[in-house]
Amino acid sequence: MPVAGGERFPNRRKPPMTALAALIRRDIRIALRVGGGALIGVLFFLTVVVLMPFAVGPDLALLSRLGPAILWLGALLASLLTLDRLFMADHEDGSLDLITMSRTPLELACAAKALAHWLAAGLPLIVATPVLGLLLNLDMVATAAVALTLLAGTPALTFTGMIGAALAVTLHRGGLLMAVLVLPLSIPVLIFGVAASQAVIVGPMTFGAPFSILCALSLVSLVIGPFAAAASLRHGLD
């Protein structure tokens, strides 16, 4: 009773959305469970920002002038802190092999993983910003400006950081290498993020120009990141 293989093992194409949604759900779930990365990033962010007023001293004017920069630095380092595990964990337990073999394009899977990481680790930073703004003597407008720039800029950090995370898998080196690779790429994001926030607080620049560049950086990294990461993962198959 010969039956064509395609019928005996029906492989009806599933819309890749189902697969991507499953991947995003899983990664967020893992990040939020005990031992996941989401909480570590926020706690680190909190620690850095809470300690800063003690280091700078009781000069409120100075503190509010430094505020956006402190928040941005804290967010940058916090998002890098957990990013190196983005592919490493999947590589170590063999999940990455199955993801590579699957019919979901690796680029899309990378994008989904980065999105999940941003939702679990990046978004909480932005939510925490208004609270931390109080500690840095930032008024309502300034805090809103920082939160808005973080919202526009942190995707760029995640999606460029993803390239470093993929390379770290390939080269079998952990977080240090990633920091060295990713930090230079994140400098423009930092510059324009802080510039846009400062524009609101002290002027004289307009908010629009640096903010637009920040959005552009995020959009570019959204496109380039997944392709670069997927290419790096494919190249490093072993």
Binding site: N11, R26, D238
Partner: protein, 208 residues
Amino acid sequence: MSGPNKGEMRLSGQGLRCVRGGREVFAGLDFAAGSGETVAVVGRNGSGKTSLLRLIAGLLVPAGGTIALEGGDAELTLPEQCHYLGHRDALKPALSVAENLTFWADFLGGERFDAAESLAKVGLDHAIHLPAGFLSAGQRRRLSLARLLTVRRPVWLLDEPTNALDVAGQDMFGGLMREHLAAGGMIVAATHAPLGIESRELRIGGVV
């Protein structure tokens, strides 16, 4: 059931050459398996058994030769029609048994079979809500086997599949493989221990 018939699937590789880290692992390797057939890849440690499976799975690029699946789904690539069961279980310790399994079922796509039924077949139905981190090595292996049952793929690539399985587990696994073969599937297994099913031996490298 032996011998590839017309209309059935046939997995074959010809003149395969594998180079890893500048060292030639094997060269001029041929193999073939039709529907319902098993290839047992044997050889000493480091002879390239795992490399061969990873070549078929598309996880390594062959330095020479070709691998083809005839009679499969023309829209899908060979790796997309394979299950790869490697040394590592692809399980997340933070997720429960059921969450692990349904994730792979959702992610891998294709036709799905009941996850609970697959877990019952591999003897894990009592542990559905247990985090995978609490499972023993044998139970983890059983959970990865459930993945092969929940999402059907014609080609199973198994790397030391019976590792960590107890005697009852090996019997259970033998039954699962026979079912898979009876449904027209193919198995390529790298193994030191006898598989417990009829298989064609493919020896890589010298004498064991």
